[in-house]
Amino acid sequence: MSKQRLIVIGNGMVGHHMVEQLIERNATERFDIIVFGEERHRAYDRVHLSEYFAGRDAQSLAMCDADFYAANGIELRLNEAVTAIDRDASQVISDQGTYSYDRLVLATGSYPFVPPIPGGDRPNCLVYRTLDDLDAIRAAAENANTGVVVGGGLLGLEAANALRGLNLDTAVVEFAPRLMPMQVDTEGGELLREKIEDLGVQVLTGRATQEIVDGETSFHRMVFQDDKVLETDLIVFSAGIRPRDELARDCKLELGERGGIVIDDKCLTSDPAILAIGECALWNNSIFGLVAPGYQMAKVAVDTLTEGETTFRGADMSTKLKLMGVDVGAIGDAHGDRSPSARMFRYLDEIKQEYRKLVVSSDGKKLLGAMLVGDNSYYDTLMQYYSNGLELPADPASLILPSSEGAPTLGPDALPDTASICSCHNVTKGAICAAIDAGAADLAAVKGETKASTGCGGCAALLKSVVDSELEARGVEVDQSICEHFAHTRQELYSIVRVEGIKTFSELIKKHGHGLGCDICKPAVASILASCFNEPITNAAHVPLQDTNDTFMANMQKNGTYSIVPRIPGGEITPDKLLVLGQVGKKYDLYTKITGGQRIDLFGARLEQLPDIWQELIDAGFETGHAYGKSLRTVKSCVGSTWCRYGVQDSVGMAIQLENRYKGLRSPHKIKFAVSGCTRECAEAQSKDVGVIATENGWNLYVCGNGGMRPRHAELLATDLDDETLVKYIDRFLMFYVRTADRLQRTSVWRENLEGGLDYIKDVVINDSLGLAEDLESQMQTVIDNYECEWANAIKDPEKLKRFRSFVNDQRPDPDIIVTEERGQLRPA
């Protein structure tokens, strides 16, 4: 059978997705495929277009490798616009030739609408849709000081942010009375305006531009309906999009009244040889200006071309986005104007600048829509109620009150079978259950079977909870393996390491695992090895196992620089040492801050500066503070009996003693201590993993407290201990935790999952019920005996220092680390 010729017009996101689908379904065996792209770039990620200004280039935005089309036998004709379709002859025509087709797909997308304003075609009046547009904006911005975006919708705000990033004084002019009129209402729009004005962007709403003429102080002058004027050097129009239906119009395909190529459920146009997908297509009188519905159309179109059955059933336009750092979310009928009898709930916090609104059916049972400004953490739960038609709680308002009010969370078993779990791939809870019943026995298998969570990944947590709960309901023991490379739990690996005396990751994985390992098992094993043997983590065998923070013994910041936290045991520091920190901070231009853990953090050091900085700190007597490690952080202290009129013991002395004893101890998660000098508890010891509070007779020992995300009060383990017993109990407690906890489990969570609870810990630590006490203590002693400041160790070894080069073939610093000054110090720009 000879092959048919398939032509795709448009190499945008949707056209490209269609080609990928064609390849996946082996449709290249029945079709010769030619793809036309008018732009000079092959398909790229338009959704992340703005990142082009943030440093991404055309290459990294591209949706595929340069040779992808050729490698799959597909002809890609870039820089070539189709100018006409001759349906009678089944040909498409470009300025370079005429090409016959058997089947034709229109994926021509849309173009930015420029309102017909006199002067709207002046130079430096631009749009925001393609890479070339962005190049033009960048070029124009070189000679401009000010910029205006016409249109305050989603894309307009994105464009405004881009102008701001190009250092232009930026204003947004919106015709409607508020910003983002499609997504938010008056209150929401007001809040949004405040937030955006706080960022230094001027917002003008309710303004219709009448004409654009020569400016007096700037290049343009915009004249509004009320004769007010605004001068600016550069204008970007972002006043909506219009489908690119000109080819279809010329060849008389059916169009919608207001444009758009009419398609049916199979993505067929009025000519069954021709299909249309993406933003140029009009389905059920709607254009879908988002990429996900376009992808669905692409799948349906491929199915139609290969005699499949699937149909396009519309798409949900709910969106959750962050614009200039501001959360905005809109679900369903967010305005409530599609359901006249709907009832609304609103929550407005003018101080935190948060606004939330619920649109609820008249009987109060169903969620019809929702609107969020300022905090999108409510989105996922609301989306579940909305998309699954779940019955709302008796008081729906609880869903948008601040979380502390205890909004009921939706457990996975509360979801019906029809609940959509993954919206990218349209996977319901029912489909997940079916996959499990058909033999998918773990999360990975369910993912492979259903494709759930392989799109944006936003559903990962939900998917996992559904899978775990369904597996448990079927009596399947949920696989606790640490990762795909070891069929063991962390505790089992710990025992293996200890019993077999294994000292390297490579030996462990050779004997008990497979593959190369990963970013889950490597750091976990590194931590186990350190807890057992405490060899320097900078040894060649251990270096590749560490998270970057441990590798470079500093904390990576968002721009790739590092922060440095020297140890200040108990928070006590001499004025001389303080001066050194000041000098080092000044010399290397580091942002300096007092931490919440009673010490000093120096931010913004480049990788190659770390050794020099540490040399100076070590010379002044500092040691590493392990702020980067899953290890002992700080022992906070209050001033205690040496100064305080209420103090009953020397809390600073004890804090320093404890910090020096346990520094460098690596553990499943970080460990924090505090010591208070009396019951007034100024050191907040009851919120720490290990808390010590002085009594008239000695020390009370508290364990398993936590601040952070889920605060937990520590529990009293023992009272009135002398110094020696206190230390002995802490030795045992910590080592028992190190042996038995899961990876990344703080003592508080470990304690909550420990069968037998506090009584069990008391039994082991105080009564030695397992006969382990001596073993635990001697293991702790090994760790303590092997302690060496990691930085001191690294600094004297040129081999180890080689690791601290930003680039191995060049001294020049990373040019993308850009800083700006704020309150007299530098911070990332």
Binding site: D45, V47, H48, E51, A54, G55, R56, D57, Q59, S60, A62, M63, C64, D65, A66, A444, T454, G455, C456, G457, E484, H485, G515, L516, G517, C518, D519, C521, K522, P523, A540, V543, P544, L545, Q546, D547, T548, T551, F552, M556, K558, N559, G560, L607, K802, R803, R805, S806, F807, V808, N809, D810, Q811, R812, D814, D816
Partner: protein, 128 residues
Amino acid sequence: MSTATALKSKTGTDVNWQALCTWADLVEFSGVAAWLETETGPAQVALFYIPGYETELFAVDNHDPLGKANVIARGIIGDVKGEPVVASPLYKQHYRLKDGRCVEDDSVKLRTWPVRFDGDQVMVKLSH
């Protein structure tokens, strides 16, 4: 200076292969970053070295498009179902070392370059 290396390789046999560094600059089972002079300007390349593995050397973009910083060389390497990957140190997405694809997000991709040893030299081929 990398410009010097670029010049040196240009006088070699294949102008498209540049010597970036030597074997001793690499870190076993981990990555280092190096500058590469391309036609469109200097690029930061992350070089990963997995001795004994079927492919021992990989060269991918050092820029993390999701974390938006030049840090890929500082990630942990491993495999996802046998496919070698690097985990970004910032937000832990995995990028496939062979083709740069992001495992968690199909639409994101790192540039990759052909790379090989030439004696002690690590050679990277300029790709278009």
